[in-house]
């Protein structure tokens, strides 16, 4: 059937804003924010992001790494993974963050991928990216592995409308470190940035709201990150655990634990933290109890049960690593 008329697609616009106000306005109007472009451009190509143009944030700067008063490390949202990994300030202040940024994806990607982009990347779920329609794809609904069954080995294990595994290692570490994000509107805890999705969005950011920097407290204590992936590089974690802890007289005085690869957002494992407080980090039974507490409520789909064990092992190892670095 011939509908007549001009069938050409509208032109695609590339915009370079001069101020954050201008950027926010353009973003509110539906332009897709472009930082490193390692995910945004892929999403456009796959049809998972729909926009009539991109808004290149790079002219705005936002890439300084500085230590602020009060022991806060401030990282511009457009700092690249490579810049963070090689920054002396980060390596000295929060070594775990530098190490994790230095292991993201591949050297080529680390040279362009940004901190903000890493936190806000879309799910790496094989269904979402593989051309299946789901609640997170434009115009889609449901969750194919939950509705139809099928391979769930790379998915999360906590129940929800979406069972994708959030891909960011950096976000997991930042949650454990108690970091915050500064946006064009407000400051929020990284822990609060992501939410359980009931539609395409998995953050609480409003339309046009842009992340400008990340604040990381360099408080006393040590941190560690443990992850497992099925390839030595360029693979997202099947499961991961980040821990920051402080001990006092051989006992865990303060601990934060975050889990990755298990849910559509990084998980703060508060029950595990409670279970650990006051425990001897050398007490393996206490660590096991904490790991169990961290996974309370997990209900893996068939095939993903192994992630329970992975996560338990990683939680214990991350606590042990953090405690070891503190002792050392």
């Amino acid at each position: 059937m011939d509908r007549g008329g001009d069938v050409r697609s509208p032109p695609f616009v590339y915009a370079r804003p001069e101020s954050s106000d201008e950027a926010a306005t353009a973003a509110r109007a539906g332009a897709l924010a472009l930082a490193g472009g390692t995910d945004a451009l892929v999403l456009l190509r796959l049809g998972l992001a729909r926009a009539q143009g991109v808004l290149d944030l790079k002219p705005l700067g936002w890439r300084e790494i500085e230590v602020k008063s009060g022991g806060v490390l401030e990282l511009g949202a457009l700092a690249t993974m490579a810049e963070i990994a090689s920054s002396a300030l980060v390596r000295e202040g929060v070594q775990t963050l530098a190490l994790v940024c230095g292991r993201v994806a591949t050297p080529q990607i680390r040279n362009v991928a940004t901190l903000g982009g890493n936190l806000l990347q879309a799910p790496r779920c094989p269904y979402y990216r593989g051309g299946f329609a789901c609640m997170r794809t434009p115009g889609g609904a449901g969750c194919p592995p939950q509705d139809q069954g099928g391979d769930a080995r790379h998915l999360g294990i906590f129940p929800g409308a979406c069972v994708a595994a959030h891909p960011s290692d950096v976000a997991v570490v930042l949650v454990a470190l108690g970091a915050g994000v500064v946006t064009t509107r407000r400051t929020i805890a990284v822990e609060e940035l992501h939410r359980a999705p009931d539609g395409p969005a998995d953050t609480i950011l409003e339309p046009g709201e842009l992340v400008t920097k990340v604040l990381v407290p360099m408080s006393a204590g040590t941190s560690a990150y443990a992850r497992v992936a099925d390839r030595a590089s360029f693979a997202f974690a099947l499961a991961a655990a980040a821990v920051r802890l402080k001990t006092r007289q051989g006992r865990i005085a303060d601990v934060r634990i975050a889990l990755g690869g298990l849910a559509p957002r990084p998980i703060r494992a508060r029950a595990a933290e409670d279970a650990l407080t006051g425990a001897d980090p050398a007490d393996r039974a206490a660590l096991d109890r904490a790991a169990d507490a961290a996974l309370d409520g997990a209900r893996p789909l068939p095939g993903a049960e192994y992630k329970l064990q992975l996560a338990r092992v990683l939680v214990v190892r991350a606590i042990e690593d953090a405690a070891r670095s503190e002792a050392g």
């Binding site: 099928g150 390839r231 993903a304």
Partner: protein, 755 residues
């Protein structure tokens, strides 16, 4: 010409063939060499790594259009209606073809219907294609084609596909092949066996993902057609294109000068090449059609999934008394499978062997040859079972394998051209430190596996070698260099024979207009096929040259006592540089023509042993392959650097097959779950282990195969890698793997099963 009957082996299958033989191909065996066998960097390495090499998609022609293919989202459906009117009206679109308008192609409509049919058989099957001014317009046009499908029931599991009442993939049933082979009496032997091991194995589909995706550029040159194609067989594509378009063979030229890998997925004319040609006819313009990575992942072939059961049995002393191997293979819609049970018939001496292969069509992309087809899948099952057998007998796995070495081909009783597998095993065992292997379950594991593969090549193949007036030589042949170093190796062989420095020989290949017929670059056949043809051409060129030189120097007219040495013709004290001879001849050419002679009676199998050292994490199921020692024998080496590169590539690809690669479909929908390189995990540089390789008898020619004494090495290196790693993982964790790839989820399951 005379005709001989001979045995030819291709991708693990042997057949008898009549071959016409050119006279004078019976050169003496090349014994001592001065150049062949010395490490020689690739003669074309620099353009390959600087980007100067023009691969198919680098070809840009005036007025060239870019094509794209609309593919089925359904595993099985009837294409009820295609509405392409909006796409056709998009400015910049020059042609749209699909099942609803192919009749406009007139006499070619039937050909077009084979590709763009009214039934789609897998997710990714071709439905429509467009040619437009640029790739973005073409992609835009695809989105404007509206297709109405009537989805039909589908089946993707090979066992289910063969059950009564399964949805039919192609008319005529889902049984693509059913091959049963037996020697001796397995049932009787099992009754008397001392130890019987039974194993099952499920292997996943693996996708080639050559660095260069499939691509073709098709253009008319008057009434002749020129096709730039990323293919492993220029002459094969020429024949298939000419057949499909009803053109005289001589009116089709195929150029495949630079190829970024094939691994078996580029052995013949692909659907997209025919589509590009039809669009070129429809639009009257040159058309480029390059597939994207996702298309590579779903529609250009893969190593088929298998379900296998194997029984191995031995007597008290460890001698094999029975082998039984059954494999179900899912080959997709009209695909191909290599002989999965081949290694069970060929690798060990065993009097009683039964093999059965049930090959099923399924609603998936067609499977095709993939480096060592069948043998890669089958050797995993066989070698896992052999290790378990060794454990049950209380024998060392290396010792068990040495004990059961076949002195002649166990299936045909043919004599081997050369077999030094025992030396491969002993060398590898020494290098990996096999003696300190220790007990199973320590977290660190050592494992080994063997390999057998037919790699003798075959006729026909031709080459010419022409003396140029400046004293250099031009070797021309219709073979191709798919990335393996063929250009370098053939130049070495010609320079060896002509006794000139390598820089004085130029090899032109990858163009049917530039060189005579050569077969597909597959089946580990290129060196054993082409090296003798090129040596013959060079030798013929030399013979004529010496004849002429003798007369120029005022000596015997037959060239006796005139020799060719280091770029000079020499007779007694007289010496004449080749350039002076060329000068005197002017534009008169001296052209030698060479042909590949017939295969002799010996069984040209190649063998190897690989050893893996792994570290496994019992808590997480992670595997780190620390080291692979690979010891192979493929006769004389032409270039040890290229041979080493084949080992390294094969081992890394084999590691991916063992641990990472899984081209799975989503069972409920038939859609691919790992179409791109994010979800389909090939090994990265960080996964590559330390690889140590050795070649047994590298400097000595293999006797009884061809006069260069070289056999093939393209496929052998990948065959034993996955089973060696599997045995190492089994040893490290004291587990029984029954599935590949061995991902953490599966390893944790096996650990749980073992405790």
């Amino acid at each position: 010409m005379r005709i001989v009957r001979q045995t030819v082996e291709f991708e693990g299958r042997r057949r008898e063939k009549l071959e016409p033989v050119e006279e004078r191909v019976g050169l003496p065996l090349l014994e001592k060499t001065w150049l062949v066998g010395r490490p020689s960097p690739r003669v074309d390495g620099i353009p390959r790594v600087t980007g100067a090499a023009a691969y198919s998609t680098d070809v840009v022609l005036p007025g060239m259009l870019h094509a794209a293919i609309l593919r089925s989202p359904h595993p099985h459906a009837r294409v009820v209606h295609v509405d392409s009117s909006e796409a056709e009206r998009l400015p910049g679109v020059h042609a749209v073809i699909h099942s609803g308008n192919v009749q406009e192609l007139g006499p070619l409509a039937d050909q077009a219907r084979r590709t763009l049919g009214t039934t789609v058989h897998f997710v990714g099957d071709e439905v429509a294609a467009v040619a437009a001014d640029d790739p973005n317009v073409a992609a835009d046009a695809l989105r404007r084609i509206r297709v109405r499908y009537e989805p039909l029931p589908f089946v993707i599991d090979p066992v289910a596909a063969l059950e009564p009442g399964a949805p039919e993939v192609l008319p005529g049933g889902n049984r693509s092949g059913h091959e049963r082979r037996r020697r001796g009496d397995v049932d009787r032997a099992l009754k008397k066996a001392h130890v019987i091991v039974e194993r099952s194995l499920r292997t996943s589909p693996a996708v080639h993902h050559a660095m260069e995706p499939h691509a073709s550029v098709v253009a008319w040159d008057g009434d002749a057609l020129v096709v730039w194609d990323s293919t492993q067989h220029a002459y094969g594509v020429r024949r298939q294109i000419a057949d499909a378009l009803r053109l005289p063979l001589a009116s089709v030229r195929v150029v495949n000068r630079w190829i970024g890998g094939g691994f078996g997925a580029k052995q013949g004319m692909s659907a997209h090449t025919l589509i590009a040609a039809l669009l070129a006819i429809r639009s009257g313009r040159p058309v480029a059609l390059a597939l994207g990575r996702r298309e590579e992942g779903i529609a250009t072939g893969h190593r088929p999934a298998t379900v296998q059961r194997i029984t191995v049995a031995a007597d008290r002393g460890g001698r094999l008394v029975a082998l039984r191997h059954r494999a179900w293979v899912a080959v997709g819609a009209g695909g191909y499978s290599g002989p999965v049970t081949g290694p069970t018939r060929d690798l060990y001496a065993c009097p009683n062997v039964e093999t059965e292969e049930l090959v099923a069509y399924t609603h998936a992309g067609p499977a095709c040859a993939f480096r060592g087809p069948g043998f890669v899948e089958g050797t995993v099952a066989l070698e896992l079972a052999m290790d378990e057998l060794a454990g049950r007998l209380g024998l060392d796995p290396a010792q068990l394998r040495l004990l059961n070495e076949a002195k002649r081909d166990p299936d045909s009783n043919a004599v081997y051209a050369r077999k030094r597998l025992g030396e491969c095993i002993e060398t590898g065992a020494r290098l990996i430190g096999w003696k300190g292997r220790g007990p199973a379950g320590s977290g660190r594991g050592l494992g080994m596996a063997l390999e057998v593969w037919g790699a003798g090549g075959w006729p026909p193949a031709y080459a010419t070698c022409a003396l140029q007036r400046d004293g250099t030589f031009l070797v021309s042949t219709g073979t191709q260099d798919i990335g393996t170093g063929t250009t370098t190796m053939l130049a070495l062989v010609a320079a060896e024979e002509l006794h000139v420095p390598l820089s004085r020989v130029r090899v032109v290949l990858g163009d049917t207009a530039a060189g005579p017929y050569a077969p597909v670059s597959a089946g580990s056949a290129t060196v054993p096929t082409m090296a003798p043809a090129v040596r013959h051409a060079a030798s013929e060129c030399r013979r004529q040259l010496l004849e002429v030189a003798g007369q120029v120097l005022g000596l015997e007219p037959d060239g006796a006592r005139v020799t060719l040495e280091n770029g000079h013709v020499k007779a007694g004290r007289k010496r004449l540089p080749l350039a002076s001879l060329g000068d005197q001849l002017g534009d008169h050419e001296i052209i030698g023509r060479g042909a590949r002679g017939p295969n002799p009676q010996a069984q040209a199998s190649v063998f190897g042993a690989q050893f893996a050292e792994v570290e496994c994490d019992r808590g997480t199921g992670s595997v780190h392959v620390r080291r692979i020692v690979a010891v192979h024998d493929c006769g004389r080496l032409i270039d040890p650097l290229t041979a080493g590169a084949q080992i390294e590539g094969g081992v890394i690809q084999g590691l991916g097959y063992a641990l990472l690669e899984e081209g799975t479909l989503h069972a409920p929908s038939g859609r691919p779950l790992a179409a791109d390189l994010h979800d389909y995990r090939i090994a990265t540089a960080m996964d590559a282990p330390e690889i140590e390789h050795r070649f047994v008898g590298a400097g000595e020619p293999a006797h009884g195969c061809n006069h260069v004494g070289a056999l093939g090495l393209g496929e052998p290196p990948i065959i034993p890698t996955a089973p060696a790693i599997a045995n190492a993982v089994a040893h490290a964790l004291a587990i029984r793997p029954d599935e590949t790839p061995m991902t953490p989820d599966r390893i944790l399951r096996w650990i749980a099963e073992a405790t």
